[in-house]
Symmetry: C2
Subunit: 378 residues, 2 copies
Amino acid sequence: MENEIEKLVREEIKRIAPYVPGKPIDELKRVYNLEKIIKLASNENPCGCSPRVKEVLKENIDNINRYPDGSGYYLKKALSEFLKVKEDEIIIGSGSSEVISLTIESFVKPGEEVIYPFPSFIIYRILVLKVGGIPIEIPLENDFSYNLDKFLEKITPKTKVIILCNPNNPTGTIVYKEQLKKFLEKIPDNIIVISDEAYFEYVETSDFGTCFPYYKDKNIVITRSFSKIYGLASLRIGYGIGRSEILNYMERIRPPFNTTELAQIAAITALKDQDFVKHSIEVNKEGKRFLYENFEKLGIEYTPTEANFILCKFKQDATGIIKELERKGIIIRGMKSFNLSNQYVRITIGTEQENKLLIEELSKLHLVGVSGRLRIVK
Amino acid sequence: MENEIEKLVREEIKRIAPYVPGKPIDELKRVYNLEKIIKLASNENPCGCSPRVKEVLKENIDNINRYPDGSGYYLKKALSEFLKVKEDEIIIGSGSSEVISLTIESFVKPGEEVIYPFPSFIIYRILVLKVGGIPIEIPLENDFSYNLDKFLEKITPKTKVIILCNPNNPTGTIVYKEQLKKFLEKIPDNIIVISDEAYFEYVETSDFGTCFPYYKDKNIVITRSFSKIYGLASLRIGYGIGRSEILNYMERIRPPFNTTELAQIAAITALKDQDFVKHSIEVNKEGKRFLYENFEKLGIEYTPTEANFILCKFKQDATGIIKELERKGIIIRGMKSFNLSNQYVRITIGTEQENKLLIEELSKLHLVGVSGRLRIVK
């Protein structure tokens, strides 16, 4: 009967890799008999979220039997004031990834091409395949920097969407202001640019190229998240910015209750606590310097980052290192799922204490010999 | 530039009705200067949710900076034990409507037909149009009962999915056991049956035809919800049951973090409190009898229901009545959005007190004259 189902399913779905169910972190705790887990794997905010958010959530669990406000009325109002954009220039998503999904579902016809960087956020490929689009992956330069000319070269009459992941996950590299300006000037009107800016709050460089100044004049959807700096990953909430002519089409297929009431309330409250945001940026900055310094001492190659994670390259297969850290309760992310070699790992910048423990365990785990080869010491 | 966008958007999206942003209930409060709102419009559980759920939510808001468990590991485990089905025969959705969406997105190719009842849940049409499918709406009988022969008659080589909404929203009518058995025997293997059972816990009739006994042998996806009897509408969580061969394809396109951590925890806790479920069923039963009796006194036609809502037919356009009730803080649902005539309204069965207030206001609002004509008395 299995073959029977294979005959029924859409071709597009068959092209997507089969689902492998994961296990939650609590299972890891149980397996290794660990008391505490340090999770540096998913680019979450190690500072938690604004304490005000927790208060407001506690105050608002009495009405969970009621459907959420499907229009996100108050959250749109709050974002509109915060960003100085019109309410109908905002769309609310179950994480910014849903906004990316709605954009692709609204505009990409079967056989049309979507250009995006490699390596980058793995969801892009799935979303493009799902609608029968053709993924065009543009390798970043050797140092993982963006060369947007290579994106422009790949534009064909079939190109419908170009995604910039900025800062890029998992490399932490960015598109710069001047670079973006020149790029957008050359983008024809029949192409939609998605600017995935989930990590933009962490950027230190002053000439970062956000698409924000251009969204009124170009076909641009900017996507942003409450999962990262605002620390609301568990609640699934993000938003998109774009001209209402674009967003109106996306609203037609947005699931009517795509975000929970608690997520909307939390997001409104989180926006108001910019002190927490500032604090999180500081912690990230300090953690970044500390990790850079110690990676250098340990001879671990890394890509300088503008986000809250660092892409590292070990001198050998990192699978053993990842496994050893896991036993100690430290989780980092191997990059095989991003189609990078097994030498690469992505490490989320943690709190001061978490970063110290990571470096301690990494130091115990490996010694860099004269040859530069790294050995695991058990 | 608007015309420009219209040229870029997928044809399927253009066929979907434009989005009209709504206003939350709090806005109604503000406009009419009301203290309390009685919402009988969205088939929510008027008893709230299990008190244990509220406790467990309060205890679990400390980790909202962490991504939810994308696999729904513990919730699948809990459902597996509760339903006596295997864990890989369960899929978790952001409400059961997402499970319906994933089924349609996985199996319906452009130009293929999806058969479902009319009137029924309005989301079906949008989901079918979105993937380029062809909606085939089968009118229910005059008393809104199901005649499944009419569904079978409409099967063509292009038919891919048949949706049964059972109990049906907004009519509260059901498919019976014998009826379902005969129907399923005639369904060929190249068709997937979606059995939307969001309200099945409310059914009083013993010969209700759930698809549950058949899902192992047929191409069936049963969808169920925590939004109704479990009172978790605000948290967006539901599930599907089907053979793993079917669900595995749907898992490929399920958004990796489609439900929040709080929703998963709430659902696990809610499942354990079956006393709350029993209580909710009792309240619904009593409310149903009370409303039947009073609708009859008031000369309001209604369709006997197996769910937690009643479809009523007024002798005239109900728009004025809906508006008048709204001013008093009572919200019921006009059925124009379901493409029924403006005489129809759908009323969710409330608590004893809410039902009494509704009947009080309805009695004040209208008098049924000798002619049976209903007048609004201001």
